[in-house]
């Protein structure tokens, strides 16, 4: 288990969001009815990006305090490189899957659809576009976002430490502009990034700003406000009620209520992190961190440990989750898509993710000499240098 200096909420909820991302990425999966997106207008993506921002300040800001701006910037770039390699890995998996399907499936009825496999005739274009983060088929859209956000953070972190209010004002302006004017990066072969980085930087930086206190910087705007908590709680209760009602109506009639569809269309777009999603997430996060303190007994329960370990090995578990989702989708459509198969695939995938997380934590722990382990527990921040996340 982790050293006690760690805020296990970060690991727990990041781990939970990784498990949700896996479950949500298997199409028509009954188990995905139990993920966040079914009780809120936001989903695991917001949780993941927010916690990534928080951890970025906590880890790299801590390094900056101890070793200076250049050192922390280099560490951030190293982390970006790791993420980039993971992105290329997922691209190779994607190519392998499409190649396999295209080689076997050659029905002229599906000529339009097999345009998908067309890049196999001109693979150099897709490779080139994947290298510059512009090729983003499904599953390959959140890592490019994370990479550009972290790249930008190498520059933003010193500014955020020195002028938090100024940086957050600029971030808000950029978000509002991106969400209203819809400017975004282009992707290949057409369209825009699924996660608009100009909009999503906002939630990343909100997370980053929240962590400033942890590295010794007070934010004037962030004192506890109890009436705000009531507002947040009300938002959470109302959104959960709406979502559950929607699910109920959907099960009854096979259709979502028109008024909700219209609302989602107007203010609930994921690409530009529209206000419905953002406000819902912030309210949910506010209530969660108030109700669940960092030393909450649930984190010492046996069932919490696997989730926490997934969160502590987030990059590997994320990539593994995507890989397992692709594999599950493939097996479900080739063999059986029954209820039992969906549950088995979901449970099996979670078992593999958790098992891998245990293995990784165990090997990290094993490889570290005793005295260093003691030192790591005593000195917060040093875990990151040794490969912790």
């Amino acid at each position: 288990m982790a050293a006690t200096d760690r805020d296990l909420r970060l690991d727990f909820f990041r781990g939970l969001s990784l498990l949700f991302i896996f479950l949500d990425h298997i199409p028509d999966n009954v188990v995905s009815y139990f993920t966040l997106s079914n009780v809120a207008f936001c989903d695991a993506a917001e949780v993941f990006v927010f916690i990534s921002g928080f951890t970025a300040t906590f880890v790299f800001g801590g390094l900056m305090n101890r070793y200076g701006t250049t050192f922390s910037a280099v560490q951030i770039l190293k982390r970006c490189w790791t993420l980039y390699v993971a992105h290329i890995f997922l691209f190779v998996i994607f190519i392998a899957q499409v190649s396999y399907t295209a080689a076997r499936f050659n029905n002229p009825m599906f000529l339009d659809e097999m345009g998908m496999a067309e890049f196999l005739q001109e693979p150099y274009i897709a490779v080139l576009k994947a290298v510059v983060l512009q090729f983003q088929p499904e599953f390959m859209n959140i890592l490019p976002l994370y990479i550009v956000l972290l790249l930008g953070f190498a520059l933003v972190l010193p500014l955020l430490r020195a002028q938090p209010v100024l940086v957050m004002t600029a971030s808000t302006v950029l978000y509002v502009a991106a969400a209203t004017l819809h400017f975004n990066l282009r992707k290949f072969p057409e369209g825009v990034w699924y996660f608009n980085p100009f909009a999503w930087q906002f939630i990343f930086l909100i997370g980053a700003a929240m962590a400033l206190r942890r590295i010794g910087i007070q934010l004037p705007a962030l004192q506890r406000r109890h009436h705000l908590l009531w507002l947040s709680a009300t938002i959470v209760v109302v959104t959960v009620a709406i979502k559950l009602a929607m699910t109920f109506v959907y099960i009854r009639t096979g259709e979502f209520p028109h008024v909700v569809l219209r609302m989602l269309y107007t203010i609930g777009d994921k690409t530009n992190l529209e206000p419905l999603r953002l406000i819902n997430f912030l309210a949910l996060a506010h209530v969660t961190v108030t109700v669940i303190r960092r030393d909450h007994p649930m984190f010492r329960r046996a069932w919490a440990e696997p989730v926490i370990l997934c969160g502590q090995n987030s990059l590997h578990i994320f990539c593994l989750g995507i890989f397992l989702a692709v594999l599950s989708h493939f097996l479900l459509s080739e063999i059986s898509n029954g209820l039992a198969a969906q549950i088995i695939a979901s449970a099996g995938g979670i078992l593999v993710m958790v098992g891998t997380a245990y293995g990784m934590s165990w090997s990290k722990h094993r490889a570290r000499p005793e005295r260093e382990r003691g030192a790591a527990a005593a000195a917060p921040g040093s875990r990151a240098i040794q490969g912790g996340e």
Partner: protein, 259 residues
């Protein structure tokens, strides 16, 4: 249904003609006799919205003109010939179900087109034909390219509104299904977008993806591993089934009372 027939004798004659022997004696929706391999559960295809312009054309002119706007699966790729494509099959089925009327279904399928591209040829290919009904098959090119869903919705809305302004009924039809393509392409957001446009504009939608998926899951059709003549025969049968099911949706829409 019954009250329509009593209240408006002119339509009554036609609708009786329309549904003919296929009409359920209890007065329920018209039922087109289906070949057994085309069977789908009754609740898979949503109830048709009224098609007032088609009804009007049938009533006053004793004819029904339909334009099939779409991509290569509308064009009929993979089938024996253009007569086996679903628009031609739809025309044949409707003609036999509407013996008193002159039914024409014009095929305006062009391979690999997005909704935006189809919008560009709406005037020349669709409005110029002056149809009463357009069946708009779309979403495939967008799913393949990963087009922004909002852009897709905007194009659909724009097209639907122009057709509505021109006094034309619309039925929206989503993508094809096969296990092979569903493994590598995420159709869901685009199908959801089509549903959303249909719901907000009160249109009928034809859930081709769900229908074909049901056939595959129930071993009524296989698309993988079939080549040459076998693949062509499967394509012919699928298009024929789609023609039957679409005819049923249209007859329901014509018979449905305006809300």
């Amino acid at each position: 249904m019954v009250s329509i027939i009593r209240g408006r004798p002119l339509i009554a004659g036609l609708i009786l003609l329309a549904a003919g022997a296929a009409m359920d004696p209890a007065g329920a929706d018209p039922v087109v006799p289906l070949p057994p391999h085309c069977e789908v559960p009754g609740d898979l295809i949503p109830d048709a919205s009224p098609l007032p312009h088609s009804r009007q054309m049938l009533k006053t002119e004793h004819r029904l003109k339909i334009v099939a706007l779409g991509s290569s699966s509308t064009l009929g790729l993979g089938a024996t010939d253009s007569q086996a494509a679903w628009p031609a099959r739809l025309q044949a089925v409707l003609a036999s179900e509407l013996p008193g009327a002159d039914v024409r279904v014009v095929n305006r399928g062009i391979a690999r087109q997005t909704a935006q591209q189809m919008l560009g040829r709406l005037d020349s290919d669709v409005l110029a034909e002056k149809p009463a009904l357009v069946i708009w098959e779309t979403g495939t090119a967008e799913a393949v390219r990963g087009t922004d869903v909002d852009e897709f919705v905007d194009a659909l809305m724009a097209g639907v509104d122009r057709l509505d302004a021109a006094g034309i009924d619309v039925i929206l039809m989503d993508t094809q299904y096969s296990r092979g393509t569903a493994e590598i392409i995420n159709f869901d957001p685009y199908i959801a977008a089509i549903d959303q446009v249909a719901v907000t504009r009160g249109l009928s939608r034809f859930p081709r993806y769900a229908v074909m998926r049901y056939w595959v899951d129930n071993d009524q059709f296989h698309f993988a591993g079939e080549t040459g003549g076998v693949a062509r025969k499967v394509a012919d049968q699928v298009y024929d089934c789609l023609g039957h099911l679409l005819a049923q949706t249209i007859l329901q829409g014509v018979a449905a009372e305006q809300r």
